[in-house]
Every structure is written in structure tokens, then in C-alpha cells.
């Protein structure tokens, strides 16, 4: 990799919980590796992160350890020391898990996370970030830093759709390039009486990509700790691969946004 070149930050975000952020972040990382990229997956669901759970990782260090070291050893800090390798049949990627203790999670600072992500950008082609479903200060800072945001939604019942709409409008109001945000629908054929076209109309744009509902493969993937794109061929893994392919074919979106964290609140109201 060229000196000073900074990798892509691909963030997975949503405004409803349990829509599949973690599953998609994991499979995005895994598929990028299959495509030959050097990838790190960061779990920013600080309190109840599932990345290490879903991958059955026994990590020695977490984001909290990295933050501690970054604070005490500013000069010599090397984030790589805190990563855990996930490997499967010759494919591997790096993981920075969420803090192990809730007290640690509560004390993670946004600037430390920004600093750690910036370091990772120097070492990896892709830094894939899993988040929580809230417009927190940290999520906003990370979205600012992101090259691309996968805004994930599902269509199950009205409150979720309301929150997807509010989330979309809020993200749009942050002033990012339209191309930076990809609205992806997950679990599309799950039980619901709501028409997708109506939802697209409400959101004001079509879904960039649609992922099918595949309950059993998803469950099995979590149970075995193996990403879907590695272990199985089914409608979901096929679409996950297709999504990642669409991302990597785009060269125009590789530029990283450099705007700092201004209060999102201000941005929304000007």
C-alpha cells in the first residue's frame, strides 16, 4: 500500500435494532477478503456488541484496551497489537471487538475512536464498522469519517418504518454526498403486509439493494461462527456478495470525507 494512503471506511448503520447490521457488517468484511482486500472489522456497538459473539472469537484485547494504550502511549501506539484475527479456510480478516466490560464501554471517547479508525485506515484497504441504532455523538463522528454508509432497514411494522424515514431524513440533513449513503433493505420477504413500493415512495428513493429473508442460514451462521458468504450458497449469501461487488466496483466513492465533527444538531438546523 502506498505511503499515506488511507483506506475506505464502510459503516453499517440503522435506526431500528435487530435489522441485521452485525450480520451484514461481518459478511461485508468477509466478502471483501474473498475479493482480495485487507480488511478490519470494528465493533462500535460498545455495550452489547455481537461481532465477537457471532464469530465465536476469544479475543485478548478490545477497543477499550486500544483506547487505554492510545492515551498512555501516544507516540508508540500501534493499533494492530489490539486486533484479533478471524480465519476460515485460508481467508482472514482482523477484528477490533467491543469492550468486554460495560464500565469500559461507558468510558469510550469519541476522539479516541476517531483516532483508532484513522490508524486503521492507514493499515487496511477497508475498515468495516458495525454500530448501534442511534444518532449518538460517536456514530455521527464515525459517519462523518465514513466513505460509505450502508443504511439498513427492514419493513416489519409501522413504527420501524417511521424510524427508517426519520433516520433517512436525518442522515440526508447532514449534508453528505447522496452517493455516500446506500439504503439497503434487509429481510425483504419476511411476513408483512406493507408494500415495498410504498416504503420507497415514503423514503423518496428506491432501495439501493435488497437482501432476502433467510432465517435458517442466518441462524446457522451465528451458531457456527462462520460468515454466510464463506459457508453457504443461498439467496442471502448470493445477494450479500452482489452488494459487496457493487461497492467495490465503484471507484468514485473511494474518497474519504475530511469534514470534522461539528455538532450534528447545528447542521440540521441551518
Amino acid at each position: 500500500m502506498e505511503e499515506g494512503r488511507r483506506g475506505i471506511v464502510a459503516t453499517v448503520f440503522s435506526t431500528a435494532s435487530a435489522v441485521g447490521k452485525t450480520l451484514i457488517a461481518i459478511n461485508m468484511a468477509a466478502e471483501l477478503v474473498r475479493e482480495g482486500y485487507h480488511v478490519c472489522l470494528v465493533d462500535l456497538d460498545l455495550q452489547f456488541g455481537d461481532v465477537a459473539n457471532y464469530l465465536h472469537l476469544e479475543a485478548e484485547y478490545s477497543l477499550a484496551d486500544a483506547q487505554r494504550e492510545a492515551k498512555t502511549n501516544t507516540e508508540g501506539f500501534d493499533v494492530k497489537k489490539f486486533l484479533t484475527v478471524y480465519g476460515y479456510q485460508g481467508w482472514s480478516f482482523y477484528v477490533l471487538p467491543a469492550p468486554f466490560a460495560l464500565e469500559e464501554a461507558y468510558n469510550i471517547s469519541t476522539p479516541a475512536v476517531q483516532h483508532i479508525l484513522q490508524q486503521l485506515q492507514l493499515d487496511f484497504d477497508f475498515v468495516v464498522v458495525d454500530t448501534t441504532s442511534a444518532f449518538s455523538e460517536m456514530n455521527l463522528a464515525v459517519m462523518d469519517m465514513s466513505t460509505i454508509i450502508t443504511f439498513l432497514g427492514i419493513v416489519d411494522f409501522i413504527p420501524t418504518i417511521k424510524n427508517m424515514k426519520i433516520g433517512c431524513d436525518t442522515i440526508r440533513s447532514l449534508g453528505y454526498e447522496a452517493n455516500k449513503i446506500r439504503i439497503v433493505l434487509n429481510r425483504s420477504n419476511s411476513k408483512t403486509k406493507i408494500d415495498l413500493a410504498d416504503v420507497e415512495q415514503l423514503l423518496g428513493e428506491p432501495f439501493y439493494h435488497v437482501l432476502p429473508n433467510a432465517f435458517e442460514p442466518a441462524r446457522k451462521s451465528i451458531q457456527t461462527g462462520v460468515p454466510l458468504v464463506y459457508s453457504s450458497t443461498n439467496a442471502l449469501s448470493t445477494e450479500l456478495r452482489a452488494l459487496v461487488e457493487r461497492y467495490t466496483n465503484r471507484t468514485s466513492s473511494h474518497e474519504s470525507s475530511s469534514s470534522g465533527v461539528s455538532s450534528w444538531f447545528k447542521k440540521i438546523f441551518n
Binding site: 435494532s17 455495550q47 461507558y106 444518532f135 416489519d156 411494522f157 426519520i166 411476513k191 444538531f265 438546523f269
Partner: protein, 373 residues
């Protein structure tokens, strides 16, 4: 019914001002007014009042409340003060007053105070139930909405929901309400509110006249406008307005969820069974609540979407949690989501289902606990 009112107000100017408000309202007759409480106690009986307004900015008057209730057993006593104070409120209710009203008041505030407190009085002690979940999609809002309805119907007493899921509160959608005022305005204005004026920020639920809801923010960025101290004041004031206060919270540990849990008499930990790591997350959350000396009584785990929804399953979950699980709800996805989609709740629609039965049982337990105190 016509009200015969006696007004005690030490400040001469204020006395005039309040008198003219009361005189101007149809159905209210101002029979006597005094600057000194002693005069009212000695002379007021002449008029057989059924409503007494007592100025408690005069500290000695607080101590006279029991004498007033003794001397005027047929009258409701409302205390008047120029500022709201949760401690005072609790004290006056214990002493026998029905409620508390900020002065000066408008005719409308006054009428509403009489209406709200006249029947059942202000809550001297309330059950405050906070609903915490480690992660979202726990079935928490569904539980709060249905449980509140059940509590309102079964107890007949005042039930208030505070939707404190600040960024993505769903309560308004669940009840099909379009709030003019939300938690943001309540928190903004709390300094100037009394229970009566706060009451109007809570929306009425059609057909359930003892259930009211303080809805969540309309946009996630408004969440920034909610500071913790005034939020806590809203909760405390709601406690004197309702017998049961249910607080829906954002997922995880954050300033709002922590402070609501601290203010609660009971904190429910809620998770939905989904074949993931939810039991593990609940155990981790429980560890934090163990810092409370009384956590064993105060924390109540609830699991939703439990199949099969049997007592064996509840016992199994209790063993996994190493802590008794208080309630389990069955997988009723279609029933509850259809109800929420239509702004109608499941329990009301169809009792006799396992879902409704378990919610109703939980409500009975809460009502029973309150009566024990």
C-alpha cells in the same frame, strides 16, 4: 355539582387576584376568603365549603393541613404555592390534602386541578416502572403499552406513560396519537409547571380516560434538548399525578435510562428471545443493577417471544439468568404488530390469548404490590 370555595391567601394582592379568577368561573361560588389560616379554621364552617384553597407559602400552614381535614371532612383541600416542590407535594398529600396548584392560576388550570384531584386526589405514593433493555427490539414498547392499558383498566386509577426513548419513541404510533406537546416541551417548561399544568402535556387515550401518555420527540435531534435534571423533575412530578408511571427507555445504559431506573420503584429488564446472545446480554446488564442493595426486589427480568411460553421455560430462563424471571410473553408477532399498526393494542383487542393473560397477570402483580405498601 356546585363548588363552595374558601380561599386562604396571605398576600393581599394575590388574594384579590385569585378571588377574581374563582368568582369568574361558572359553578364556583367564593364563599369566604381569609389572609390567616386561623380565621378560616375558626369561621369557615359557617359556609359548609366543599373546596378549600390553602396558601402554603406560609410555612405554618403546612402543619395545619390535618386540622383543616378534620374541621372540614366534606371538603377537598388544594394547596397553593408559587413554586413546585416534589418534597412538599409528597408531604401535603400525606397530611391529607388532595392536590397542589401553582399560583397565580388561570381559570382553566384551576378547573383542571379540581377535576383531576377532586375525584381521587394526588398520588401520595406511586409505582414507577422503568423499562430497560440491553438492546433494541426487545418488545419493550409493546409491553409498556399493553401493560399500561391493563393497569388502567384493572386498577381504575391514574396511569401515565412517559416515552423517554428519546430518539425513536414509538408510543405515539402505538396509540395513534398526534402529540402537540411531547417530552421535549415538558422538559423545557418543567420549571414553570405544576402537576396540573404538566398533566396537559400528557395526551389522553381515547376510550381509556385514566391513561395518559407523554409522547416522545418528533425528530431524533430533539433528544439533545432533554437534559437529565429537568427530565428527572418531570418524572417526579408525574409521580404525584399518576398512581402508576411507566417509562419506556432507549436501549442500553445511557444518562436517561440510568436516571429513570434510579427513580423507579421497579425496573424491568426486557429482552426478546431471538436465538442470539440475548440471555448473555441480560446477564451482563443484571450485573450492573446488582449495585443496588435492593436489586433482588427491584429488578424484574422479562423475556418476550418465548416459545413455548410455559412455566418450565420461565424456570429455565430463571436458571440461565441466575435470577427469577418475572414474566414471559409468547410469540405473538402478528397480533401485536397488527395492533400497533392500527393504533390499537393487543390486550384490549383480544383477551383470552396467552399474551393478554400474561400481561394481565403482570398487572395484577403490580397492583397487588402497591396495595401491600
Amino acid at each position: 355539582m356546585d363548588y363552595r370555595v374558601i380561599l386562604i391567601e396571605n398576600n393581599r394582592v394575590m388574594l384579590e387576584r385569585l378571588s377574581s379568577v374563582v368568582r369568574g368561573i361558572d359553578g364556583y361560588e367564593l364563599d369566604a376568603r381569609y389572609q390567616q389560616a386561623g380565621d378560616a379554621l375558626g369561621q369557615g364552617k359557617m359556609f359548609q365549603p366543599n373546596l378549600i384553597l390553602l396558601d402554603i407559602d406560609v410555612p405554618q400552614n403546612l402543619a395545619l393541613i390535618p386540622e383543616f381535614t378534620d374541621a372540614f371532612p366534606g371538603a377537598a383541600l388544594l394547596c397553593l404555592s408559587s413554586n413546585w416542590n416534589a418534597n412538599n407535594a409528597a408531604q401535603i398529600v400525606k397530611a391529607g390534602a388532595k392536590g397542589y396548584l401553582l399560583k397565580p392560576f388561570t381559570a382553566q388550570e384551576f378547573i383542571e386541578a379540581v377535576h383531576t384531584f377532586g375525584r381521587s386526589g394526588m398520588a401520595a405514593s406511586s409505582e414507577t416502572l422503568a423499562f430497560f433493555s440491553p438492546k433494541g427490539k426487545s418488545g419493550k414498547t409493546t409491553l409498556v403499552a399493553n401493560l399500561a392499558l391493563s393497569l388502567a383498566r384493572k386498577s381504575g386509577e391514574g396511569v401515565g406513560i412517559i416515552d423517554a426513548d428519546l430518539q425513536f419513541g414509538d408510543m405515539a404510533v402505538f396509540f395513534n396519537l398526534s402529540p402537540q406537546s411531547t417530552i421535549v416541551e415538558a422538559v423545557r417548561d418543567i420549571e414553570f409547571l405544576s402537576p396540573i399544568t404538566l398533566n396537559s402535556y400528557f395526551l389522553e387515550v381515547p376510550e381509556v380516560d385514566n391513561l395518559r401518555i407523554l409522547c416522545g420527540t418528533k425528530k431524533p435531534d430533539y433528544a439533545e434538548l432533554v437534559d437529565i435534571e429537568p427530565f428527572e423533575e418531570v418524572v417526579r412530578m408525574a409521580q404525584s399525578l399518576f398512581r402508576y408511571v411507566l417509562i419506556d427507555l432507549p436501549p442500553g445504559f445511557n444518562p436517561v435510562s440510568i436516571s429513570a431506573a434510579e427513580l423507579s420503584t421497579q425496573t424491568y429488564l426486557v429482552a426478546m428471545i431471538g436465538g442470539g446472545f440475548e440471555i448473555q446480554h441480560m446477564r451482563r446488564a443484571m450485573e450492573i443493577f446488582k449495585a443496588w442493595p435492593d436489586y433482588g426486589k427491584r429488578v424484574k427480568p422479562v423475556f418476550t417471544r418465548v416459545e413455548p411460553c410455559t412455566d418450565e421455560q420461565r424456570q429455565w430462563l430463571s436458571r440461565e439468568m441466575d435470577f427469577p424471571v418475572d414474566a414471559i410473553l409468547p410469540n405473538e408477532y402478528l397480533l401485536v404488530s397488527a395492533a400497533a399498526n392500527n393504533g390499537r393494542m393487543a390486550v384490549d383487542n383480544r383477551s383470552g390469548t396467552v399474551f393478554a393473560d400474561n400481561i394481565n397477570r403482570l398487572a395484577d402483580e403490580i397492583i397487588g404490590r402497591r396495595k401491600m405498601r
